[in-house]
């Protein structure tokens, strides 16, 4: 029988606030010693009074708006009761039947076609403590407990591992554009769980729903979804039966394993949090938040294609992060708009290479858009050659100096004096007899080699087209196009 895969994703993103959700403990706990970002409120001591962090609410509303959700006129927090030591209070403050956002959607482009994935809800809750499991006991660090956590749940409308990855990447990009979360997957500020099922093609009845946890990267989500949809098919093909269960992704082995011990149905006994008065959203407040929404990745991508004539692939990469897209546009503001492709080449070429090599983000680079444009103008005016520009840029990247200073300091200005160039060309011809005879016997590649030698002796400073022209003259050949 033919089966189809049905996936729903649940994302938890920590909000980028300075303080926790209900107390003023700091949220910069990642590299702090255990239990140093803790107070009686997040420690769940009796008699304390939590107070809602306004920024966390606004960030959640902002996200809900960006995801095209409906915002209710009023909402509230609820207590979700369960017994697990990651909760000091014995309950988590969350939202049950009145999430801040509901019925939204986002658009993904998988394999070139667009698809809308509906979003069931966006709600606000508090993160829980971190547990360390040892041989015969567990340790609890409460630092993370109470950090604002936003939960975003998709409808089960994702139908392949590719779509699951694309949905996550898009959601990740949107949250980064909004600046509401660091979205650092390694540090756990962007986490994803999945519900995966299969069903006979065309049927609307899902077979057993399997929840998959512990996926810590986009790649892990892709692989886990692929593994799980194959596993479920093979269980059925072997005449087995699928069971509703929770499975954990084991990255090193590339498999999911059943997590036992949860044989009872969840019984959270939600009830309204009596310590927190309800939230009421008036129109003015919502509109004020809406006004802060930046241009979102999908819209920006389409504008980049239309306005700058960029192909889809380039527009996709350039708008993949807001800082990169901002950088690109800041450069263009200082240059002729027709230079979009030149800027693109530098950003996606040498610049990206150096950023990757040094593991830096474009946000923290020493090369400002003004500095990059200044360098490109030097190329344009013929002050430095194309190859020298690469060296200048690298120096700018590492030292933070401006192109003009580097050119003076390192004597990198372009050699366009024909007499000088001819002198060097003659020298190279004299020293490369083999290549010269190769060229004369018709090997065109030999010319590229000799040109390279001339450029090398000048450390890239010679004007390349002048070199080529003189070289051909000196070799007695005719000009080649």
């Amino acid at each position: 029988m033919d089966y189809e895969t049905v996936i729903g994703l649940e994302v938890h993103a920590q909000l980028l606030t300075k303080s926790k959700m209900f107390c003023s403990c700091g949220t910069d706990y990642v590299s702090a010693p255990p239990n140093t970002h803790v107070c009686p409120i997040c420690l769940g001591m009796p008699g304390v009074l939590p107070v809602i962090n306004k920024k966390a609410v606004e960030y959640t509303v902002m996200t809900a708006l960006a995801l095209n959700c409906t915002i209710p006129k009023s909402t509230k927090f609820d207590r979700k009761n369960y017994c697990y030591p990651d909760l000091m209070k014995g309950y988590q403050i969350s939202q049950y039947d009145a999430p801040i956002g509901r019925q939204g959607w986002l658009t993904i482009s998988s394999n070139g076609s667009k698809k809308r994935i509906n979003i069931t809800r966006v709600h606000l809750e508090e993160d829980v403590s971190k547990l360390w499991h040892r041989e015969d006991y567990s340790l609890i660090d409460v630092n993370r407990s109470g950090v604002p956590l936003m939960e975003i749940v998709s409808e089960p409308e994702i139908s392949s591992p590719e779509e699951a990855r694309d949905y996550l990447v898009m959601l990740h990009t949107i949250l980064r554009y909004l600046g509401v979360s660091t979205c650092n997957m390694e540090e756990g500020s962007f986490r994803c769980d999945a519900n995966v099922s299969i069903r006979p093609k065309g049927s609307s009845k899902l077979l057993a729903k399997v929840e998959v946890k512990n996926m810590n990267s986009f790649k892990a989500v892709y692989q886990a979804m692929e593994y799980e949809s194959k596993r479920q098919r093979s269980v059925l093909e072997k005449g087995g039966e699928l069971v509703q269960e929770t499975r954990g992704w084991v990255d090193e082995k590339g498999i999911t394993v059943s997590q036992r011990g949860k044989e009872y149905a969840d019984d959270y006994r939600y009830f309204p949090e009596p310590d927190l008065p309800p939230l009421v959203f008036d129109k003015a407040w919502i509109e004020k938040i809406r006004a802060k929404l930046p241009e979102l990745p999908e819209a920006r991508k389409e504008r980049f294609m239309a306005q700058y004539g960029l192909p889809l692939y380039d527009a996709n990469i350039l708008t993949g992060s807001r800082t990169l897209a901002d950088y690109f546009e800041s450069c263009l503001e200082l240059m002729d708009k027709g230079k979009a492709k030149l800027i693109r080449n530098w950003l996606l070429g040498d610049f990206s290479r150096l950023l990757n090599a040094t593991n830096t983000d474009i946000e923290t680079t020493q090369v400002s858009p003004e500095h990059l444009v200044e360098m490109l103008n030097l190329v344009d005016k013929g002050t430095i050659s194309g190859p020298a520009a690469k060296a200048v840029f690298e120096e700018m990247f590492y030292s933070g100096k401006r192109a003009s200073a580097i050119v003076t300091e390192k004597k990198l200005s372009q050699i366009s004096d024909a007499t000088k160039v001819r002198e060097m060309v003659k020298k190279v011809i004299a020293n490369n007899a083999k290549a010269v005879s190769d060229y004369k016997s018709g090997k065109q590649q030999a010319l590229t080699f000799i040109t390279g030698q001339v450029m090398r002796t000048t450390r890239g400073r010679a004007n390349p087209s002048l070199v080529k022209e003189i070289l051909i003259q000196e070799l007695g050949g005719k000009k080649i196009a």
């Binding site: 403990c25 255990p34 239990n35 509230k76 040892r134």
Partner: protein
């Protein structure tokens, strides 16, 4: 409405309470009694009354997003019956 034996056992389990057979019987009656009182309240006609989640007429009580000093680690752990590596130490938890 009388709570069944199983219902009382389930509630006790959710609250992590171990009850003897006699106690299950005893609490079954008491809990049922409480629920019966709610049945009386249910007789009030609330057709035109919007559902309320809170009893105090307050809304939008916020704090600004400002971080302040937390408690010293030693004080945080002061009440912990067992601790190790500056963490609370508890019985093993199966993941």
């Amino acid at each position: 409405m009388k709570l069944s034996y199983e219902q009382v056992k389930h509630i006790a389990w959710l609250a992590r309470l171990g009850l003897s057979e006699a106690e299950v019987e005893k609490f079954s009656l008491q809990l049922s009694n409480i629920l019966e009182n709610f049945d009386i309240l249910k007789q009030i006609d609330t057709t035109n009354v919007p559902p309320a989640t809170h009893s105090i007429p307050l809304q939008n009580v916020f704090r600004e997003d400002e971080a302040a000093k937390s408690y010293p680690q030693s004080e945080v752990l002061a009440n912990a019956p067992r601790q190790e590596e500056s963490c609370f130490k508890v019985q093993p938890i199966l993941e």
